[in-house]
Amino acid sequence: MKEFETIIGLEIHVELATSTKLFCSCSARFTREPNRNCCPLCMGMPGTLPVLNRKAVEYAVRVGLALSCRIERFSRFDRKNYFYPDLPKGYQITQYEYPLCKEGYFDIDTPQGIKRIGIAEIHLEEDAGKLIHLEDGFSLIDYNRAGIPLIEIVTEPDLRSAEEAKIFSEDLRNLIMYTRASDCKMQEGSMRVDVNLSVREKGTPDFGTRTEIKNLNSFRSVARAIQYESERQIRLLKSGKNVLQETRRWDEAKGESVPMRNKEDISDYRYFKEPDLPAIILSLEEIESVRKTLPSLPRERMERYRREWNLPWNDAKLIASSRALADFYEKTVQYCRLPKEASHWVTGEVLKKLNEKKLVLEESDMDPKFLGKLILLVKEERLTGSVAKKIFDIMFDTKEDPEKIIASYGRITVKDAGQLDQVIEKVLKENPKAVADYLGGKKKTFGYFMGEIMKETNGRADTALAKKILEKRLAFLYNNNNPIKEG
């Protein structure tokens, strides 16, 4: 039986989060009102000339650096010529011959370990407008998107499975969001993934005929489309047929891809140097100054958390996946010096709460110092875990200092041995059966008593002290073999 291997390369378009478009001063913000952010230039009127938005170059360089690319000190724009109503000038200004960034890589975590995926190039280009097809056969054009800066990230054909492609896309999205170059919202189209896929018999050196799959609106679609396409190609080859070089369109509802255009239809884009724009010349100083704006990146942070703070892989990865979360975590640790506990809180309560409230960390306005304080209070045994969680809930809503919350909600813990003894005596009295079980050798019942004690004290009992007293009382009962009578 022949064994096949799937070869995947991705082309990822990412809209840059600049405030204005790539070649004019129109707003690049998303708006629902059609043709709101337009001017003579981005509507392709004659006599207008493109003026490069340097911010877009800076953002693209940021992504290039984050992907360990070589940033080209000379790059330039080309025209890609074709006709379509969403393309106002009859050509798209893109980078064809001399892209801005080249030869980078991105390490992803696969179940088989770290895998390095090559980045062939990143180029800067303008987006096209959007067509809205009406039911009566007419189409409307919205040029709001026309001219918004895009980068296209082209990977080497290094991916081998749907799963790898999905991990790559997700990690890439996290990375780009880290650089703040884009918000990477797939549903708004600010990140779009195209797949190039071919299959070959394992062990053969040559690539098979590849197809391109477009219209992938989520990472899930990416994975599904790859699965579908690789099975389709393998089926073709096994039955002795050929794969056609074509572009296919993924239909998420049907779960299949359909041919969009074949090789003969693929137009000759007649690329040539954009004569209206000067080349982009970057000095080493400029590149270095962009590098300085980059934060410490996910992999670097993850490795640091594991190395210096001994976090388990999963927690380190989860925290490092978001810049805001990682920054928050690090500030918490800075305050409490308890990385393990902090990671426990951040991956637990903090994320749970954000999920619950459907917020992102930036919106929550949480003060990492307060979380740090809370963690210290627990560590110093001034709070039990369950009380701390309650305080955290309040803190999340009120943004108040935990000390202040505690002050207004009564004593911190019951540390009074006499008071605790009374509570414990009561608990034992009320649970004669459990006491009998314990004395009969069921040591697990101890936990049950502790739970009851916490209930009685609203969770404020000092755990260590309660444990000590409970042990003493139970030992006394055992030694005297004299269960407490009811009443």
């Binding site: 009127m45 004659p46 025209r79 007649r270 004569p275 209206d276 000067p278």
Partner: protein, 429 residues
């Protein structure tokens, strides 16, 4: 009133002395255009209201501030591919039928800001692609005395050809000296040019319309001098290289103390094919925006998208545009790619040869020619400026003055030499 042969400066002086009012002057010009060009063969659109408004503003400002600019109060014309806000701009093509730009070209803004008086838009061949001087309304309008100066564009050497044909002065400035924003160009080789009766008028107008423009990324950061200060510098000590055919003209300069020497250009025969290739390639792309979708002409016979494109473009483009679009599409196709790359290389070599020439000479002198030749394309390929100077008096039949070229941003030298030539050959100064 005989204003038709007066210079920018002479009219300016009259306005300053209030021998004539700007409104009066504008009315005289408009009246004459209406009378002498009733079929709109030269002025395709008049900007009458705007012109009179500008003249009115000029008078108010004049009383307050005195004269501000060479261009203030001076009637001028604009070729119809220079965009004018809220005024039809069709660039000589049916495809831009009824196109009314919502913006002014930078040169128009400059003229308006300086209280110049744009009288209207001038006829041109489709996108200026045909350098037939008869079709050049910008040169014609100046020659007829309907404008004091007109702005046109240089496509296929049209500034040089038309100014010689109409016996006026014509300047193609250095690439990047005058903003191209708002010029409906078919290629980056196209350049806004100045037509005027006199060299000194070209110098005055250039001093006002040149300068870096944030809207044109290829406009150069260059401190624009007052070019009129070069006019009377003479040519003593200038090194002038001349091409065969301009021997007699060279003598005019030699007599005034210039060092003259005959030179040859080895790559001359490559100029036209290279220009043709580069122009066609760019035009095929630049004209892609005219698709019948957003503005301009739309065929009523398009039943689907592809038909709408082919019909609109097929019906509206003239033969010149179609020729260059087809040629350019072919040239840029992946199979023919070598042609385009070779042309780029050739352009580089030609520019290099010209630059080398200007390390030995200040000015290059050529005979004027009212017809297409290869040399009239040299400024476009090298980005260098060229000035056409009519002979002061047309004494000998078929003798049409001279063309001068200088290194980039050396317009001053052109004015120096051009002005001297004009006065030495008996022209009014």
């Amino acid at each position: 009133m005989t204003l038709s042969n007066m210079s920018v400066k002479q009219i300016g002086d009259k306005l300053k002395k209030k021998e004539i009012s700007a409104v009066e002057l504008t009315k005289v010009y408009l009246g004459r255009i209406k009378k002498e060009d009733p079929k709109k063969e030269c002025f395709v659109t008049l900007w009458e209201a705007k012109a009179l408004r500008q003249a009115g503003t000029f008078q108010k400002k004049q009383d307050k501030n005195g004269l501000l600019s060479f261009l203030a109060g001076i009637p001028c014309g604009l070729q119809d591919h220079i965009c004018t806000e809220n005024l039809s701009t069709e660039a000589g093509s049916v495809i831009l039928k009824n196109f009314i730009p919502p913006y002014n070209a930078t040169v128009v803004e400059k003229i308006l800001d300086r209280l110049g008086i744009p009288l209207g838009k001038l006829r041109m061949s489709e996108f200026g692609m045909n350098p037939d001087p008869i079709q050049c309304g910008a040169a014609q309008s100046v020659s007829k005395g309907w404008t004091v100066y007109s702005l046109g564009s240089d496509v296929f050497g049209s500034v040089s050809i038309a100014s010689v044909f109409w016996n006026i002065a014509g300047l193609r400035p250095t690439h990047g000296l005058v903003s191209r924003y708002g010029l409906i160009a078919s290629s980056s080789l196209d350049q806004i040019g100045i037509f005027a009766n006199r060299v000194e008028d070209c110098a005055a107008v250039l001093s006002e319309i040149a300068g870096q423009d944030p809207r044109d990324p290829l406009s150069a950061s260059f401190t624009v001098p007052d070019y009129t200060t070069y006019l009377r510098k003479g040519v003593r000590g200038l090194k002038i290289g001349f091409l065969a055919g301009a021997e007699d003209d060279a003598k005019v300069f030699e007599k005034q103390g210039a060092e003259v020497k005959e030179v040859t250009l080895s790559l001359l025969s490559y100029i036209r094919p290279i220009y043709d290739i580069l122009f066609s390639a760019e035009a095929s792309s630049a004209l892609g925006r005219y698709d019948g979708i957003k503005y301009g002409y739309r065929s009523s016979h398009g039943n689907n998208l592809s038909e709408l494109y082919t019909r609109s473009r097929g019906e509206a483009f003239g033969s010149e545009a179609k020729k260059y679009v087809l040629a350019g599409t072919h040239i840029l196709s992946s199979e023919q790619r070598e042609i385009y790359n070779k042309a780029l290389k050739g352009r580089y070599l030609i520019a290099k040869e010209s630059e080398d020439l200007f390390t030995h000479f200040d000015v290059l002198l050529m005979k004027g020619n009212p017809k297409e030749d290869d040399l009239c394309l040299l400024p476009a390929l090298t980005g260098m400026p060229a000035l056409t100077v009519p002979k002061g008096s047309r004494s000998e039949n078929g003798f049409y003055g001279i063309r001068l070229m200088a290194n980039r941003f050396q317009e001053g030298l052109l004015f120096q030499a051009g002005h001297l030539y004009r006065s030495e050959t008996g022209g009014a100064t």
